[in-house]
Structure formats: structure tokens, C-alpha cells
Subunit: 324 residues, 2 copies
Amino acid sequence: MPETPVCYEDVALAARRLQGVAHLTPVMSSRTLDERSGNRVLLKCENFQRAGAFKFRGAYNALASQLEAAQTRGVVTHSSGNHAQALALAGRLLQVPVTVVMPQDAPAVKAAATRGYGAEIVLYDPAREQREVISGRLKEERGLLLIPPFDDPHVIAGQGTAAMELVDQANGLDVVLAPCGGGGLLSGTALAVRRLNPHARILGVEPEGANNGQRAFRSGRLEVVEHPQTMADGLKPRSLGTHTLAVIRACVDDMLTVSEEQIRSSLAFLWERMKLVVEPSGAVALAPVLHGLLGCKGKRVGVILSGGNADIGAVADWLRAPSA
Amino acid sequence: MPETPVCYEDVALAARRLQGVAHLTPVMSSRTLDERSGNRVLLKCENFQRAGAFKFRGAYNALASQLEAAQTRGVVTHSSGNHAQALALAGRLLQVPVTVVMPQDAPAVKAAATRGYGAEIVLYDPAREQREVISGRLKEERGLLLIPPFDDPHVIAGQGTAAMELVDQANGLDVVLAPCGGGGLLSGTALAVRRLNPHARILGVEPEGANNGQRAFRSGRLEVVEHPQTMADGLKPRSLGTHTLAVIRACVDDMLTVSEEQIRSSLAFLWERMKLVVEPSGAVALAPVLHGLLGCKGKRVGVILSGGNADIGAVADWLRAPSA
């Protein structure tokens, strides 16, 4: 295996830091799902993670691994999504001052949740400025540590702890699927599973309209999707990062894409049949399993449901809209 | 304790029949909930039960306890809700023919789900006929066994197995809350908890607009609410039955009521914070805990979330409607 910027030992260290802090989230299953897939399907419910998504794992690990610097200098990130809330919560738990750069038009509820955990929010005008520029300037001016949402060894290592738990809870797996946006969760998952279940197939899953990861996996270099088109808003980073690309190339077996309609019906299955509030991004890795894209039977298949911070009204509207 | 038409031993027998058939549903908790309530709160997630609600327990137990008669004669019930689906599923598992009497205007999705489990559906016009009359006629004409939705010793005993599990999973409880419609779940819960944790307070919870149980608990006789007004449509039976009233009078400590707004905010908490799809009826027993109606601190409080068969669009609309 080629060398990667972060390795299994980093994931194992992260698991120790997260012990008793992150939830050991449950694994759920469904007879209907098993019958429909022809496999034994085990769903890792990161929608039940603290702050509602796996992101807490990476954010906490990033702060805990450089605690003194983080506490002294404070940290900054740019995100309007789950990473912002996760970092804000991790900062509150570890007495680290957190600054979050968010676009002015971010949903008020997300800004409120982030502020609720005690973070400072700096708004910017996305039509006129770029978020990386703002966070870079804050880093310089205030001496803050930058904690990126995915392309960071500590963040990747933390995200890998979900799959580490899953392999253990499932008593071993033949196939593992994780959604891919910027690739933090998928990279961490791949590092953990490649070591713990060396023969398992590790698959990343993306929406068709946001397949920068699949393209990068094939070409071997960063690929950009300028305007990602998908309801799975957590998977909208325009490209992987250099760290996540390196790990994904080294450890992932294949990258699949799924249609919006496949994501929608997977989301409907999770809400209606399994009674789980999962956000659209969190249903993406289930879609290949429900729609017969795996090409295997009788296997033990693990799926990471990445988060549950859904806009309930928007999901309900999507679920009841007539199929496209 | 006065004699009741069904006792703890019936619940224990039901638990044996349900072993390996019903799901041992998980118990979930939330730091935020514990902090807000000042108690340790344990939620029994019957929304994850087979067919989406605790009703499967009672329906299956009723068929399994009189299996030969049920298989030979077939069974009938009147219900447009969770009991119908639960009985249809239990019938499929036990090779018992099931007939369900439903109003013509029952939601198509509920009829489809019941039919999907293999039950025969007999529709009637609720403006012209009464459902009890129709099911009574089918019972006579076809010799079917009637399996009532709540006022039946076997059904009550089956429902009690949820609380039996909860007491065990929680390592003992000081207070237990269950929602009350016709009283089947509450009766079974009370029988189980009164024996297993004799000093626990057992509380039934109803919507203010459907408080027939509270009135009957106080007066000692059946009380009818002609037109129950509540979003919690599973709690709309117009009165308790003679069996459930007897058990509730004997074993329950008090009956509480909660407002629609309290139900709504409890439902919002379950969906938004805990990521659980619970139907409005299923959130009712949580409302006194979230809204400070318990009058205790530092206790171990068990709450039964009774089911998850929500109309997702209707719930989303309710959650985003401005508070009344």
C-alpha cells in the first residue's frame, strides 16, 4: 500500500481520544432491507452522533490532538454545515475558542445552532468574497489555527473511528460503503477497514451531479465540479483535497454514483420504513444497496448513514413531490 | 391490589411467545433531555418495532395464545391504524387469515400497508354504519374470532412486554410514562411495572382534547369523549374498555393531560434533536417530561415512544406551522 498522509494508527489514537466523548452510535438493520438487497445490511447510525453527524469525531480529534495550541490561539473554520456545529461543540467541551466563517445567506437555523454551542460567527458575502480568503485572513490577523472541514490528517483520523466501531459491532464486513463529499469520512473509513478487514471491498458513493471524487479517483489528480447539483448538500464540496485524494487512491476499491431519484427513494426508505431522520447526504451510501448496484449476494454489507441534520420541511416536500 | 382481568403472569407468558419474533427495541437517551428535565430519561423506541408500533406485541400475542382457533376460523378487527397493520403482519407470520374493517376514507397508504401484509380489507361508510356492527356481523356470518384493538386480555398482556423490556434495559425505574388511547399499552405497562418495580410511579398521558381516560380514572366508570380533538390520532378511541379501565384503576398512579402545543414541541424535539421518526401519539408521553410536569428531579424516568407510523408531510407541516 502506498504511503498516505495519515494511517490506521492515527485512527486508533483518535478512537482513544473520543472514548466516552463521542457516542458509540448504534447499528441498525431491517429484514426488508436484507431481503431487498440479498445481503445482510448493517447501518451505522451517525445521525445519532453528537451534533447530529460524524463530523463531531473529526472536529474533536483535531482539537484534542493539538489542545494547547488550540486553547491558546483559538481555531477558525469555514463551513455552513455540520462541521461548523461539530467544531463549535468540540470547542465548548475542550475550552477552545471557535470562530466560524459562514455565508450571509446560510440558513438561520444553522447559524443559531453554531452560535448556541458558543462559537463566534463571521459572515461574508458569497457573491463578493471567498470563504477560504476570509478564514485565511482571520488565521493571519488573529493567529488562529485553521481546522479544515475534511482535508486534514487529524480530521480524517477522527472520521475513521465510525467505521472502526462498525466493523466491531458487525463482527466483520465484506463490503463497506461511505458517502463522499470532500472525502474526509471516506478516507477515514478506508484506513480503518483496510486494516481491520483487509479483504473487504471499500466503496465511496457520490451523487451523479457531484462526482468529483469518482473523477479524481480515476484520473489520479484533483478534479473540480464547479456547480454540484444534488439535494445531498453535505456532499457539495467542489473537489477532494490532496490528503483525502491520496488516501482514497490508496485504500478505496471503487467510487460509485447514484441518481437523485435513487437518493430520494433511499431517504424515503430510511424515514418511512426505518423511522430514522437522516439528511439527504446520509442516505447516499445506502442507495447502491437498495438499487442493486452492488453485484453481490449473501455478504455482510456495512453502510455509514453520515448524519441527521435534515431540514424536515424540505425533506417532506421532496419525498412527496412526484418522481422526476 | 384488586383483582384484574389480566395479570403480570400473562405479560411474562406473552414475553416468551414474542421472544425472537418481536424486536427487542432499543432504549435511547439524550444529554439535552436529561438536563432539561433534571432526571435521567430513557426512551423505549417502539417506533422501531415491527410494523412500526408496539401494537405488534399485542396482536401477535392474541393470535399465538389461541392459535388453533385463529388458524381454523380466521380473525377480524376494526381499525384503520397501527393495530390493523400489526394484526395483518402477525397473521402472515402465524398463517392466520386476517380481515380488517376500515372506513372508506381511511388513508390509502394505511389500507395498502395492511393489504401488503396479506389481510383482506372490508370497507364501510362511516357516515352510515358503525365499525363494531360490521365486525360483529362478520364474526357471526363467517365465524371469525374478533381481536379488538385494546380491550382484550391477550392484547393487554402483549403490550406489557415493552415495559418489561424497558425496566430491564434501564436497570430499574422510578417513574414510567405511557400514552393512553384505549388503554391497552398503559394497562400492560402498569401490570409489568407494578410487579417489577413496585415503588415506581406509573403515569398515563393523554391529549387534553381526548381525556376520557383521565375522567374514567377519576370517576371509576367508562367516560366517553364524543369528538376527540388532537393531532395524536392513535389516541382517539372515544373511551377506555372495561378491561383496560379495571387495570388502570388498579395499577396506575395518575393520569396527566398535555396540550397540543406541548405534544408538538415534544414531537419537534424527537425529530429535530433525537433524529427519531415518531408519530404524534408516540410523543405524548414525553411531553410531561419536557415541560416540567413531573415534579421530580434526579429520578430514572422511562417513557414509551409508542410508534413511528407518521404521515411525514403532515408532521412537517405541523412542525413548521406558527405556534397557536
